[in-house]
Point group: C2
Chain length 107, copies 2
Amino acid sequence: MRRDIFQAVADPTRRAIIALIAVQALTPNAIAEHFDTSRQAVSKHLRILQECEVVKKEHQGREIYYELEVEKMKEIDQWLEQFRKIWETRFNQLDDVLATLKMKENE
Amino acid sequence: MRRDIFQAVADPTRRAIIALIAVQALTPNAIAEHFDTSRQAVSKHLRILQECEVVKKEHQGREIYYELEVEKMKEIDQWLEQFRKIWETRFNQLDDVLATLKMKENE
DNA sequence: TATATACGCAACTATTCGGTTTCACAAATT
DNA sequence: AATTTGTGAAACCGAATAGTTGCGTATATA
């Protein structure tokens, strides 16, 4: 089974969990309270997130806090990099089109 | 079934297809030649990418060119935005740590 | 020590995914 | 008109997913 950041963020519940613990580390129960799903379901998502190395456990007495590995999110950012150039190019081309239109206007 | 950009990029073959047609629009056969998978498998991925509104068909005679909707990729970028602030914060905190260490060095 | 709480894990189920095989159809070629 | 080529779609399969239920275990508390 695939275990990477893209797999991690493919599920909307997992994206919500990520966004939630990005603010502060939380226990599975605390996380589950934010959703309509069960603790066990959240627990399973947390396990997948762990396997994808997106979250990190931290034991504190009988509670376990799950913390986000923010660095991992950068991998998505890096993959997007190749498309940023295209955005810019397309944007410049649009500029050219607009410029051409403006020239025609002045004819 | 979920049909969003995150679902679209969850699969490595689909990510490769996206990167491939980002350069230039291609036909399903041309795309399939780049992979170890069958044309039909690629065709299925293209269908999903279409449903996710990541690619756009363009008929040209009996050939069909698939073109990337680059704009769609920005949705990922937008979702990442919330974590960029955290990167920066963490980075600043690291700066603080480094500054503190430097101070101790000079003691 | 007995009990409550916080949690992970295993077993089970329904659904989805990624793939193959097969078939149908439309456009180009003969 | 018959054939080749480019393609989509349906039927099917094994594996993974997302969820549930039930149970075991460790920590805290009475």
